[in-house]
Amino acid sequence: MISDEVGYNGKVEGDVIVTKADAVINWIRKHSVWPMPMGLACCAIELMASAASRYDISRFGMEVMRFSPRQSDCMIVAGTVTYKMAEVVRRIYDQMGDPKWVVAMGACASTGGMYRSYAVMQGVDNIVPVDVYISGCPPRPEALLDAMMKLQDKIGQEPSVGNLRKPKAVFPR
């Protein structure tokens, strides 16, 4: 006889799940991360390719690429951050609502990449706190998806309930 019990039996336990609040909150958050694509340069093309049909980012619930920072959770900095653009990136990061995460996609966003010159900021972590760094020039869409999965793991371990009571420290430097 095929068992049709999934996880738990509603008739026995009722429609009540007992777990940690952290587990539920993090589970909800990590499966619907809405990225804000800060697509600056060539990595933006691989970002768009990962949103297209072949490397469907929609499988992870992340196809909602909102260009408004107020509606997004995660800022994917894809491309070279120049000093002229740095203040714009920071302002947009400030406008995002908590909880928020930043993914530095590609070599240029992580450390300045191959552009060691007077105009390029050597890594976006000089100006925003970064959660996941992706290497590659540009990283393949599979690498971006792998990074988003790592971000999901990271979100899964966050002390969300603790953060609800006191605000997250803003950019400790």
Partner: protein
């Protein structure tokens, strides 16, 4: 066709132009004060309607005439290019007439040349920086400006307050490693072009 007859006719009409040796297209030297008139005649009489490129070269701090502006024109009728070299007379504060009234395409090109070299184009409607931010104090493509950059404050004050970031010189780690153009092999071996400093050790002064 841009052949010898055309060149001869052009040089006869404008005696202040002189021909320069070049491998790919007709290249002429033009004195700075005749630039506006020459470009006007090129557009109206000779059929060079398209200004393809306007840029400058820095010949080094020791050169007699340090900056020269280089213009490229294309003619649809003759199907050919023409290059014009016009040196700036002053080495400390280089300036030359703007040709944006004759060729509107020159507007942005001249802004970029001012941004990168510091050459002032007199008569330009709105000469301000285009690629770097407005308050940037240096001219990056001059030969004495290092590739890594010079420390300057970031343009946005509120961002600097929160993040304490500034425009820092890029860590060259002793590189870029390129060789000089001539000399014996021990001289042309790749050496650290820039002064060697890294994120750990300071630049030796």
């Amino acid at each position: 066709m841009i052949d010898d007859d055309f060149t001869k006719a052009l040089l006869d009409k404008n005696s202040f132009l002189s021909k320069r040796e070049s491998i790919d297209c007709l290249t002429l030297d033009c004195p700075a004060d005749q630039l506006a008139g020459t470009t006007l005649s090129l557009r109206d009489e000779e059929g060079f309607e398209l200004l393809v490129d306007l840029t400058a070269i820095d010949h080094g701090e020791d050169a007699e005439l340090r900056f020269s502006v280089v213009l490229h024109f294309y003619s649809l009728i003759h199907r050919g290019y023409l290059r014009l070299h016009a040196p700036c007379l002053d080495n400390e504060n280089p300036s030359i007439t703007s040709i944006s009234a004759v060729y509107p395409a020159a507007n942005w090109h001249e802004r970029e040349t001012y941004d990168m070299f510091g050459i002032v184009f007199t008569g330009h409607p709105d000469l301000k920086r285009i690629l770097m931010w407005d308050e940037y104090p240096y001219f990056p493509l001059r030969k004495e400006f290092p590739l890594a950059g010079i420390e300057t404050p970031l343009p946005a004050a509120d961002v600097v307050e929160v993040t304490k970031a500034s425009v820092e010189p890029a860590p060259m780690m002793g590189g870029p490693f390129v060789s000089s153009s001539d000399g014996v092999m021990s001289d042309t071996e790749p050496r650290a072009r820039d002064e060697s400093w890294t994120e750990e050790s300071e630049k030796p002064s």
